[in-house]
Every structure is written in C-alpha cells, then in structure tokens.
C-alpha cells in the first residue's frame, strides 16, 4: 500500500507501469486518474489540504478497501497546491486477482476521497476565484457502500 500526498506533479503512466509490474498473482489492475478540466475558462486550480489528517484519512480509507475486497495492492496519489488544466490532480490504483474486486475497490476509494479526505478545491477563472461546492451526488455516492 502506498499513499502519497504531494505538491509535485506525477506521471500517471509511469505510476501505472510501476504498479502493474511483476504482479504474477494479480490478474486485474484498475486505475483512476483525475485531471483538471479547463472548461468554463478555468485557468488554474488551487488545492488546500489538512496536513497530517490527509494522510490519516486516506490510510483509513485504503485500509477499509483492503478489508472489504480481495486486493493485492492499493496506490493513492493526491496533489495539493496550484494546478493547471490537463494536469493530473490525483490517481488511485488497485490490483486484485479478479476484475470485480479491482473495479469496486477503486470506485469505493474515489467516492471516499471525494467527500472524506480533507482537500478543498478553489477554481481560478475569468470571474475570479471560487471554492468548489461539495455535490449532493458525491455524498449520495457514499451510501452505496
């Protein structure tokens, strides 16, 4: 299990390669990458987080995923600081013997990261800066687990 909370950019492809490497017993690797969208004239995104709690919260989420599904490994990378459109904000990767576990665990991790890990996004666009509001949909997505 590997959890990285960092300001530096990362390369989702290189992380996927490293994660999938030499998994003789795992048949399925699922990755999710979240990218900054440039629609609405967005010029940058600033992500604030709560150092200390962030790592704890993500570790707890990842451990719960490992308890619930048969997983070989879990990777979570989440950036903070300033990002521009097209850049990767975060990624999740899961490895499992079977695809159902890998998919479900990745979706579970994403649903929890959206609403339970202490990150806050601010969008900078033509009308200035605005904090992204939490979506009811994201809260609802947690109820299925």
């Amino acid at each position: 299990m590997r959890i990285l909370v960092q300001e530096e950019p990362f390369d989702p492809g290189a992380e996927t390669s490293a994660f999938a490497q030499g998994r003789g017993d795992m048949g399925a690797v699922v990755t999710f990458t979240g990218l900054v969208r440039g629609d609405g004239g967005l010029s940058a995104m600033e992500i604030e987080h709560y150092p200390g709690m962030t790592e704890r919260a993500i570790t707890a989420i990842a451990e719960e995923a490992r308890d619930r599904w048969s997983l070989g490994d879990v990777l979570v990378i989440h950036r903070h600081g300033r990002l521009v459109p097209g850049e990767a904000i975060m990624m999740v990767a899961t490895a499992a013997p079977h695809r159902k576990d890998a998919f479900e665990a990745a979706e579970f991790l994403m649903d929890y990261l959206k609403s339970r890990a202490p990150f806050w996004k601010k969008e900078l666009g033509p009308d200035g800066a605005a904090w992204v509001a939490a979506k009811d949909d994201d809260e609802a997505a947690l109820r299925r687990w």
Binding site: E48, M53, P118, W131
Partner: protein, 81 residues
C-alpha cells in the same frame, strides 16, 4: 487547544490557526464562544450545517465533547478526488 480553519472558513476568519483557551464542553459551545468574539467569527460560523469539524484529525460532530482534545479543525465539506 489549537483551532485550525481551512478553505473559506480560514478566509473569513483571516487566520489558518490559533490557540484558544476555553472551558467549552462541546464543539457547539466552542462555536458559540468564538461567534461572540468578533464579527468575522460570526460570519464564518453563521450556518454550521454547512461546516464540518475534526477533533484530533478525525471527523466528528458539533455535539461531541472537547475533553482531552488538543486540535479542533473547522472546514467546509471536502472536495477532494
């Protein structure tokens, strides 16, 4: 105890962190105490249903007791991922 503010709560109050000496029994009591201090606190805590609280870096709620807590953090709903 240390009190931390994030995102627009931090912006409204104007500081990211402060040390508060208080006899507040619950989080809600602490919020009332802070609100009575200054207008910027009253503005930040106007609608606590729009806020979340963490006690010693664990999500909690406004009725939770503060006994033994060293770090309280107030912030809007998270928007990670």
């Amino acid at each position: 105890m240390e009190v931390l503010y994030f995102a627009w709560v931090r912006e409204r109050i104007g500081i990211p962190k402060e040390t508060v000496v208080s006899d507040a029994v619950t989080v809600a009591d602490l919020v009332e105490e802070l609100k009575s201090r200054e207008e910027r606190y009253a503005a930040a805590f106007e609608d606590v249903s729009a806020l979340r609280v963490a006690l010693d870096q664990e999500l909690s709620d406004f009725s939770a007791p503060l006994a033994g807590v060293r770090e309280v953090a107030f912030f809007p709903p998270m928007t990670g991922g």
